[in-house]
């Protein structure tokens, strides 16, 4: 019942933001272009009756030809769950920051920037969070090359007479 109401709202929202609605394991997935993300998220936050007003998670996904930002939305006042996916260009991923809607997106967006190089417009402090500042490359992208174990695995050898 609840799900039907939510599904109706999501469909309405999808038509507003040129999105596609899918369902995966009982969760509605709304796929939009990166330019519509703020509209989609505000829309989801302000659903009447079943607001998806809690940003549960935000992460980047590299699907080969394009980069996605996945927002897991839920609510503290009901069982509704929703997933919003914003697709962008692989070469130059730019998206609007969700920090204006949820302050909690701050670190998550920094992490996504750190790992995928997604630039969040309007983020208050978009710096690398895990890797050091002059680290090159974005580790979780599929085109990031890791050196083999033999190169990384430097073992000190015993010096004779020690």
């Amino acid at each position: 019942m609840e799900n039907k109401v939510l599904s109706r709202y999501v469909d309405e929202l999808a038509s507003r933001v040129n999105g596609v609605v899918e369902e995966s394991f009982g969760v509605l997935v709304l796929k939009v272009q990166a330019t519509y993300i703020i509209e989609a998220l505000t829309g989801a936050k302000n659903f009447p009756d079943v607001p998806c007003d809690f940003l549960h998670d935000l992460c980047g996904v590299d699907s080969g030809d394009h980069i996605e930002v996945v927002y897991q939305l839920s609510s503290l006042h009901g069982p509704q769950l929703m997933r919003v996916k914003a697709t962008m260009d692989h070469e130059n991923p730019v998206i609007d920051s969700a920090t204006r809607i949820w302050e909690g997106a701050n670190y998550l967006e920094r992490e996504a920037y750190d790992m995928f190089g997604i630039k969040f417009k309007g983020h208050p402090n978009l710096k690398r969070i895990y890797m050091w500042d002059d680290f090159e490359g974005y580790p979780l992208r599929k085109d990031y090359v890791t050196e083999p174990i033999e190169v990384r695995n430097v073992v000190r050898t015993r010096i004779e007479g020690e």
Binding site: F54, C59, S63, V70, L76, R83, A105, Y107, M131, P139
Partner: protein, 367 residues
């Protein structure tokens, strides 16, 4: 003659600092003793779990989940294996579900004991620390006799449990459950009932309900801010809907409530374990799963109530033996965002206490 101005003192706390719970580092701006700004710096324990997952098979990643929130490793196993099971559509045997609940709740107790202990220790309550750790040892013993390890337990497998608890497990569990009221009384007597501790924690570091919701805070920290939300009730996973328990909520929003709510949660966990021990059926502990785990193409998100907040796994599968993308939603990483906001204007001692009440485990924060 130059005019001397007062300056902010910029103090670098961590990564090597006694109260930074591992390898947390924060740059604290101080005006005298008062904190004007905090910049947390993360990444000193970053092991690239999500990257590692992409080069491991689904079952090979289970030991790695132990290293996330290493104080409650069965819970991490649980969240991960349930996500994969959801993706594959595996039904697991009843007995395995009950055992998972027992181990998960034991892990919750152990984790909360460490939280209480380390909060006490960060305020120099040495004895409270050692008593809580003494009692946690008994849970570690139970892990050890069942799974063979005390900290990184690695007890769950995709489709069930790795091992049936040995005979001596059940009496040990029973005596632990019987002793818990006494333990809690002791923690209360030595730490929570202490006027100095109350003075240190009460009305310090207020995190209001609105702030908590806006900052995506989860877990006991959220419930101490007056939000009645627990994944075990809101979206019952595993067999939690069969148990009768309450979700403790406190409305103080301060450091004291963030800590003492964990005492209430221990009481609830004891209730759940008692019911699980009463109802546990016999039977196999492992479902029939293929030797090589190959989930279908798809994506799944699953979350569980970790002792420290909501732990979520988001797996994108392309039909091969290795996940394309495995995202871990770390609870304390997101909870940590409140530290600079909440601690502003308090003394440097309060920052240490507030950080302790967050119960951050850097294995989970840095992944």
């Amino acid at each position: 003659m130059s005019i001397e101005k007062t300056e902010e003192l910029i103090l670098n706390m961590g990564p090597q600092h006694p109260s930074m719970h591992g390898l947390f580092r924060m740059v604290v701006h101080l005006a005298g003793e008062t904190v004007t700004n905090i910049e947390p710096k993360l990444g000193y324990l970053h092991r690239g779990m999500e990257k590692l997952a992409e080069s491991r098979t689904y079952s090979q990643f289970i030991p790695y989940t132990d290293r996330l929130d290493y104080l409650a490793s069965p819970h991490n196993n649980w969240a991960y294996v349930q996500t994969v099971e959801k993706l594959m559509g595996v039904e697991i045997p009843e007995r395995a579900e009950y055992l998972r609940v027992i181990f998960g709740e034991l892990a919750r107790i152990a984790s909360h004991q460490v939280c209480i202990a380390s909060t006490a220790l960060d305020m120099a309550g040495w004895s409270a620390w050692s008593y809580a750790f003494r009692d946690r040892e008994r849970i570690c013993d139970m892990y050890e006799m069942t799974a063979g390890s005390r900290l990184t337990v690695n007890i769950m497998r995709i489709g069930g449990m790795s091992a049936e608890p040995p005979e001596e497990f059940w009496p040990a569990l029973q005596s632990f459950l019987d002793d818990t009221p006494e333990m809690l009384e002791e923690y209360y007597g030595i730490f929570f009932g202490n006027e100095i501790a109350m003075g240190r924690l009460k009305n310090v570091g207020i995190l209001t309900k609105e702030m908590a919701e806006n900052l995506s805070i989860t877990g006991p920290v959220l419930r101490a801010s007056g939000v009645d939300y627990d994944v075990r009730k809101a979206e019952p996973y595993s067999i939690y809907e069969r148990f009768d328990f309450d979700v403790p909520v406190r409305t103080g929003c301060d450091s004291y409530d963030r800590t003492i709510i964990r005492m209430d949660e221990i009481v609830e966990s004891i209730k759940i374990i008692k019911q699980a021990v009463r109802d546990i059926p016999g039977g196999p502990i492992m479902a029939k799963v293929p030797k090589v785990i190959k989930p279908p193409v798809g994506e799944v998100y699953h979350r569980v109530e970790n002792p420290k907040g909501e732990l979520g796994f988001y797996i994108v599968s392309d039909g091969t033996t290795k996940p394309t993308r495995l995202r871990i939603r770390p609870a304390t990483f997101i909870n940590l965002q409140m530290l600079p906001i909440v601690a502003k204007g308090w003394k440097i001692q309060d920052v240490v206490a507030i950080f302790a009440t967050l119960d951050a485990v850097l294995g989970e924060v840095d992944k």
